[in-house]
Symmetry: C2
């Protein structure tokens, strides 16, 4: 055996020496175990090799409550779901009472302080979440200086396919996350990159730059990406909804407009966000009524908030100013079961009473990423017409 062949084997041996069951996970064995397996009938089968375990369960948004895996004589535990709707699902395994990840699935996503495995059942809406064989935009993690906050802060920026080699200028969507999220949330949990690539490739959305901010103004970047080290993520960060993020937001717009080839006018700027990010989007847009022609509120907090910051004072007066400037789109999406449903209903009542035009999308379900991916995919085709 020559050295080139040895690389393969020795790399595997190194992994084994480090304590990894390389034999199980690497593809030496044609009959190796895989999990999950998405079957052609849209059921999904899970496998865990755990001869010594006494009980294995599965939890996630593809089962009701908890599903029990069954063990065979070889110590392989299995479970197959009923037929599922096309969707990007997340799940965990409970191994003898402790929640862990599926040992055979390397695809994970973090939501605040928890990791989940992902599995995608293709078809319909879920096809927007797949990486397809279409031109791909670039995703950059880029730092900007925010004089207002006194920090260097990180952004996720999507530039559409062709940006680097072309000369044209693009419109910009600022896309904001909810509490507990960060500048990674929309690209990871939200599948925003795939949704954008796919809608743009299909001609259903205009090519655009999308700027995904970190709405936690006390934080430079996502957990693990700052000099704080690998700290445990938390949703209880200071200064999330007291005006500081909104006050510092023009720093982001200035940075983007001097760094990227953008069309820097109201007709080519959009802002949207989910939950806290919808709250941020509402107050940023109404405080700058000449800046954004497109506003999206996804399961947004839309409350009045007096006495905390100038940003929040006089909500209704500022809403009047915004609509006096005839924004091209004011979009509201919410789920029937969302705890913010009534607040949004009240806000729509206000808009109706004042004859302000808005687009409304009501979904099933509550305050969940499944809905926010749908709202994004409904919102994007309406931008920059």
């Amino acid at each position: 055996m020559n050295n080139l062949a040895k690389i393969c084997l020795a790399t595997a041996a190194t992994v084994v020496a480090l304590g990894v069951s390389a034999q199980q996970n690497l593809s030496w064995d044609k009959a190796q175990l895989a999990s999950p397996v998405v079957n052609s009938n849209r059921t999904v089968t899970f496998h865990v090799k755990a001869p010594e375990a006494r009980k294995i369960q599965l939890v996630g948004d593809l089962v009701q409550g908890t599903a029990e895996l069954k063990k065979d004589t070889a110590g392989i535990w299995s479970f197959t779901t009923p037929e599922l709707k096309p969707e990007l699902y997340t799940y965990n395994i409970i191994l003898d009472g402790t929640k862990v990840l599926d040992p055979l699935n390397v695809y994970t996503v973090r939501d605040i302080s928890s990791l989940f495995n992902m599995v995608l059942v293709p078809g319909e809406q879920a096809d927007l979440y797949r990486v397809a064989n279409v031109p791909h935009g670039t995703v950059s993690k880029i730092w900007y200086n925010s004089p207002t906050s006194g920090l260097n802060r990180r952004l996720t920026v999507y530039t559409p396919a062709g940006y680097e080699t072309g000369k044209q200028k693009y419109p910009v969507l600022y896309l904001l996350h909810g509490i507990g999220g960060d500048e990674n949330a929309w690209s990871e949990l939200g599948r925003a990159v795939q949704i954008l690539d796919n809608l743009i490739a299909a001609g259903k959305a205009k090519p655009m730059i999308v700027v995904m901010t970190n709405g936690n103004i006390s934080q430079e970047a996502a957990p693990g990406e700052t000099s704080n080290g690998f700290v445990a993520p938390t949703m209880l960060l200071p200064k999330t909804m007291e005006g500081s993020f909104e006050t510092a937001f023009p720093d982001v717009v200035r940075f983007i407009e001097r760094t990227y080839r953008v069309k820097a006018d109201k007709a080519n700027r959009a802002i949207a966000g989910l939950s806290m990010g919808g709250f941020h989007s509402l107050y940023i847009s109404i405080n700058h009524p000449d800046t954004f022609d497109y506003v999206g509120l996804f399961s947004a907090a839309v409350d009045k908030k007096q006495g905390v910051s100038d940003i929040y004072d006089n909500r209704d007066g500022k809403v009047e100013q915004l609509f006096a400037k005839n924004p091209k789109l004011f979009w509201i999406g919410i789920g029937k079961d969302d705890f913010l449903y009534n607040a949004n209903k009240d806000f729509r009542g206000y808009l109706d009473a004042h004859h302000h035009a808005y687009t409304y999308y009501e979904s099933d379900g509550g305050h969940i990423w499944r809905n926010w991916r749908v709202y994004l995919s409904k919102f994007l085709p309406l931008l920059f017409k």
Copy 2:
């Protein structure tokens, strides 16, 4: 309680409804459990809450063999390491016989088909792997067209801090991974972004662009990032070491040089790689003796390989051509225990016999990322002088 306060609670409630032990992982509880905890004496303590488990062990490069966690009366299992050298360590938990991730540590890294948890013990060399409070470069996932391979393919590109807002041109390092890796390997397992940020900020390396390719020419991008979907990663990909990657490599250079502000001459190009990537770097550089002034071979396969591809034929003659052009740096790094040690020794013997100058760095240990991070940090300061 108003709606704004409810966002926090309802988000947590949503997570709970999805089956996540949010109470455990979110920071509601000041006395919450954390794992790992890096102690001030450079020991590391691990905790797993698992009242029903019968046996919990830890494996990884911070213990010899397997460490046993001990259970207390509350069902919390613990283990503290001896004092450790500063290093970025990886580990897994074995819960009743099944290897899983530490349920309390969201920081993971994938090596081929396995996920590991990460923990960093700071100090000395390991401080290069930390995100520090220094100016940060941009990391982009960008697609290029490769006419030679007939594919659109993904790159990871590091541009140094200030690139976007400046006008200067930069030198370029092409940095190649080993078998089983992909365009994510150097930035994730290799901590290349942190090493670059920190060395550049300290004035120890020149600001440069670093292009991290995908050396699996049959693959468009890393697993999960192509239209193949969330397939299980494998190191057994076709066309990794039969000349196709090297033949198509000029497509990468052309794309980079027309897309980024680079100094496009030999004195401002470097190429380096680990293992298979070192093999690629050797053969790309000797087939293009006027292209790269800096070559780095990290635990590289340096064998002759006849009759497979023109790329590999006549190695020694091509090495002569390269050295006839007086490259500024030919750098070889290898570990004493590496299975490629003797092949590298033979190759150095050839270079010595022919009076070709090279820089040699010999480390302890074998064919592992710990060494490749060190080699990168030794190599970068020598570039573009």
